[in-house]
């Protein structure tokens, strides 16, 4: 799926990187990596050589990270630095700490985006609106040399409060992921981590990566909308296509669409 008039990207997971047979030439960027779960960074590190086969620019997605994820990010970034040119790479950070690691490996010029999880610190969204939380938040992002924020899509043409920034020189653009909307994530997850007893302590989240075998649609009597449990996160599917036009994208400073066929 591709939108006219804006830059298009596609997000693929590790298993699709290995088996994907579609033509990706319509997509400027290939988004891959573990957007929300640090345990899955290991899986991407294992298959990272596959990225040599893609000519698309790469945006590597990273999750919130503990010390373990910091080490994995370091290794992945090193590989990207050694195998791709800086201008062919973007890094998406969902943890402030990852920014330090990326700058250390690539230097100051690497493009870093705030991912869908941490963007909630800067912008609040719902089905019909997007609001910047404060001018100072965006100043903070710009001071870190970050201008691009990743968000999920909307049901309609969203309202916004960006007029308040007319007099202020803050820079921000959006990449919009569709059709799935990320609601929340946990480090210990619905799908994978075994139950723990009051006497148990852990070094890392014990994970046998069972989540890679499937995603799960949860219907329940509290919501009229089905929820989707995938990896360590919960999503809803946005079935509206009203938002998916370049004019609407432009109205909220979105200039890149990231199609996520597999969540």
């Amino acid at each position: 799926m591709k939108l006219k008039g804006i830059k298009n990207a596609i997000k693929l997971k590790h298993n699709h990187l290995k088996s994907f047979s579609f033509d990706l030439k319509d997509y400027e960027f290939l988004y891959t990596g573990s957007e929300f779960c640090e345990n899955l960074l290991e899986v991407y590190l294992d298959v990272i050589d596959i990225l040599k086969n893609f000519d698309n620019k790469i945006c590597f997605l990273t999750p919130p990270v503990s010390y373990k994820g910091i080490e994995l990010c370091f290794k992945i970034f090193k590989w990207l630095k050694d195998n791709k040119k800086n201008e062919e790479i973007e890094i998406t950070a969902n943890d402030f700490g990852t920014i330090n690691v990326a700058r250390e490996v690539f230097g100051k010029k690497i493009k870093i985006n705030f991912g869908r999880h941490i963007t909630k610190h800067f912008f609040s969204t719902d089905k019909t609106s997007i609001r910047a939380n404060s001018l100072d938040c965006l100043v903070f992002a710009n001071k870190m040399n970050i201008e691009r924020f990743e968000i999920s899509s909307f049901d309609t043409v969203p309202s916004h409060n960006f007029d308040i920034f007319k007099k202020n020189r803050v820079r921000f653009f959006f990449s919009v992921f569709y059709p799935y909307v990320n609601l929340t994530m946990s480090r210990n997850c619905l799908l994978g981590m075994p139950d723990n007893s009051p006497s148990s302590t852990i070094k890392n989240i014990p994970c046998s990566k069972e989540c890679v075998s499937g995603d799960y649609c949860v219907t329940n009597n509290k919501t009229r909308t089905d929820l989707i449990a995938s990896e360590n996160s919960l999503f809803v599917k946005n079935t509206s296509d009203i938002f998916l036009s370049w004019k609407v994208f432009k109205s909220i400073r979105a200039d890149r669409a990231v199609y996520c066929p597999f969540l």
Binding site: S66, K120, T201, K203
Partner: protein
Amino acid sequence: MKLLSCITSLNEIIPIKKAGADEVYFAYEKVYNYGNSKSLKNLSEVKKAVNISHKAGMKAFLAANDIMFDTQNHKAIKEIKSIVSMGIDGIIVSSVGLLLKLKKLNIKVPIHLSSLNPVFNIETARIFSKFNISRIILPNQISAYESKDIINFCREKKIETEVFYFRYFGCPYINGYCYLHGDRYFDLTSEEACLCKIDERRNNVNVKVLNYGNNNSIVAKVRKRVRERFSKGGPPRIMTAAEFFDFYRLGVTHVKYGTRTDDTRTKIINVYNIKKAIDYMMNVSSMCDYDEAKKRFVKYAIGNSGVIK
């Protein structure tokens, strides 16, 4: 280990002190705070809260910990300035915008970095240590072992560290960035319905498999697990009695009781129980080796009935 408790009215301060709290914090309704629930109503109450706490020998802190803190709301910033001039001992902050604003305005007050802006690694601690942070409140979605470097870093930088007591706060999701509260993206079946505290019956939850992988036995197992967990309140918690003990042994300086929505009696009982648990933990740690002390503490903490004798 010192004990910090929330208060939501002036008449809670002294009983909570007597129950064992060393410090208190409160929210004030004109300063954005997480959940915007149960706050002091006016500056006169805030001033009294600070004074009563100080007279009782306790520090008092203000929760200004809404991620969405609108720093262009001059009234809210003015209120913070007034509260600082009243002698508040620190402000609990999560928004990077507010951190920057306080720095720009040269408002000199110790800052506790809220767990709503979670520090999961030492690099994040490094970034925020540049903002006059006097304490980092660790999120309860990280284990003691995973926090080791952060705690050591904080010790070196003379930054205090704080954790939640495992029994009274247990959100498994990264709660500062969680959209399960309310109905931003999904329609709830009733106004009371809440996905945050699911408490469902299993037969009210159905789980279908999407995007099949190639291992059917794992898929069936996980499907069952998702149904079970979704019915019972979400993913498993990391913070256990044993983790709490490890945080203590690693040198975490403070523990927080922060359920502002609890009634006064519950707050007092819970503070009392946490204080007793800390005393017990310190006591067994001085008498036994690490493994034995931990075992005894877990037994004590789980067996505690929660009733003041």
